[in-house]
């Protein structure tokens, strides 16, 4: 079932506009903001994790093999990971 974006009626409002579901902002996909996306060249990656630590979105994670990927549903394409990757393993590629 598709989650409603807004409560439809005033009766559905939580008291005090409290939000009871933590981290529910994940329902909003900021990936649509990006004009470029990071692409990893695993052959150059030393698995240092600097891309992970410096991502303002917290959308970079490590896969089973230890390589890093951005969750493109959330990546805004800021380019920090590519800029900070000192072995040069990340390249920003234009969207579309």
């Amino acid at each position: 079932m598709k989650k409603k974006k807004w409560p439809e009626t005033w009766q559905e409002m939580n008291p005090g506009c409290m939000v009871f579901e933590p981290a529910s902002a994940r329902s909003y996909l900021t990936g649509s903001w990006k004009a470029q996306r990071p692409v990893w060249d695993d052959s150059k990656c030393i698995k240092c994790g600097i891309c992970y630590i410096f991502c303002p979105e917290g959308c970079v994670s490590q896969d089973e093999k230890g390589f890093f990927r951005a969750d493109l549903d959330y990546c805004k394409g800021c380019g920090i990971c590519a800029h900070e990757c000192w072995p040069g393993a990340i390249e920003m590629v234009e969207e579309g």
Partner: protein, 391 residues
């Protein structure tokens, strides 16, 4: 056993808070509220209650601080007056919108300028639309009773709204008088520890005080308005329970010799009792006159007020604040608009009295009523008047 004592009302207010098993209080001193702050801090310092007393650096912080504590599930209290209440103004509507059951005493005092520390209601009236439950107490006994009731009302799951209890500065706060303190065991039964609806704790991380986009802002306001209106049910229920347990009755609109009266005088706060004497005197002179006392200011008790005034020919509303450039005092404006659609309604006059500590004596009330009665007989529509102003 209930205890009958002589006590300054400000001190008694703090003693009443001390009976409510509060967890936290933050009170910033301001005349004429300071005795509440002082005495409550003494109760805490002497270990008579187990609570945190936070000595804040301003009223803006006292209201913010108790709100933070209330969000953790604590029972909280603050008190203020005049400029202090105005300094809180920014935060007041946030507290109600966040549905935090803060209880606050307001020792009514005029607002600057010119700076004036004496009693009137010009501090609370600008807070009319803050979304709080607002009460007025007439005497020390009511201050004590209503302080205890306020916690129960505020914290009820059907309410979850802040409550402001108004008590006239000096006239009440600095007067030593007879007060009957209820029995602590009965108070504990009446007011068990708070059971919060939701709390700020890592065991269940919730977000409080979120951003409302245009898509939901109006719905959030509507839901808050409904909550405040709906709180009257709980208020009546709590007062009913109070009467059964402690014998003293409380109503949103109290009346004195009003049932058959052709002329009604309407008052709020400590002047109401003085006005009762004026009613007695006027009755002796043969005037058909009675008194209506407004105890509940928000949510406004429309039904009760309409019922109380519908048979009268003339209603004289006294205001203790000015709505500059408006059509009268704030209470008058409210009541006049409330009666607009009524088929049976009195002529409504407005006297602005008792500003900034100007004493209103029995003879003043009599003069106000007698003058109005003359004009009322002829059906004259009157503008509001500043009673007794020189010039």
């Amino acid at each position: 056993m209930a205890k009958r004592v002589g006590m300054e009302v400000g001190i008694a207010a703090a003693e009443a808070v001390g009976m409510c098993n509060i967890d936290m209080a933050a009170v910033y001193p301001i005349t004429p509220q300071s005795h509440i702050a002082e005495h409550l801090s003494e109760i805490v310092a002497d270990g008579r209650i187990d609570a945190e007393f936070v000595t804040v650096e301003s009223e803006h912080t006292s209201i913010s601080c108790v709100s933070g504590a209330s969000a953790t599930g604590a029972r909280v209290y603050t008190a203020t007056s005049s400029q202090g209440l105005l300094y809180m103004h920014e935060i007041l509507p946030i507290v109600s919108a966040m549905r935090l059951p803060v209880v606050m005493a307001n020792a009514n005092r005029a607002i600057s300028g010119p700076i004036n520390i004496w009693n009137d209601h010009s501090d609370i009236m600008p807070q009319r639309d803050a979304g709080w439950v607002v009460f007025f107490a007439d005497n020390g006994q009511e201050v004590v009773d209503m302080t205890i009731q306020s916690f129960k009302i505020a914290e009820d799951d059907d309410v979850m709204l802040p409550v402001c209890l108004n008590m006239d500065g000096f006239q009440l706060t600095h007067t030593v008088e007879l007060i009957e303190f209820p029995d602590q065991k009965k108070v504990d039964k009446f007011l068990p520890p708070r059971k919060p609806f939701a709390t700020l704790h890592p065991d269940n991380p919730i977000s409080m005080g979120t951003l409302g986009m245009p898509e939901i802002y109006a719905e959030s306001r509507k839901s808050q308005d409904e909550a405040l209106k709906n709180s009257k049910k709980t208020i009546l229920k709590v007062w009913d329970e109070w009467e059964k347990m402690f014998g003293r009755s409380y109503k949103p609109v109290e009346t004195y010799l009003a049932e058959d009266a052709e002329i009604l005088l309407l008052t709020m706060g400590s002047m109401s009792e003085t006005a009762e004497i004026a009613i007695d005197e006027l009755r002796k002179k043969g005037l058909s006159v009675g008194l209506v006392k407004l105890r509940l200011w928000r949510p406004f008790p429309f039904e009760e007020l309409k019922a109380a005034v519908k048979k009268a020919k003339l209603l004289i509303v006294t205001d203790r604040a000015v709505s500059f450039g408006g059509s009268g005092g704030p209470v008058f404006i409210e009541i006049k608009s409330a009666l607009y659609h009524e088929k049976e309604r009195p002529l409504v006059y407005n006297s602005i009295i008792g500003l900034g500590g100007r004493d209103v004596q029995v003879t003043d009330f009599m003069k106000i009523v007698e003058d109005a009665a003359k004009a009322g007989e002829k059906g004259i529509i009157r503008d509001y008047e500043f009673y007794g102003v020189r010039g």
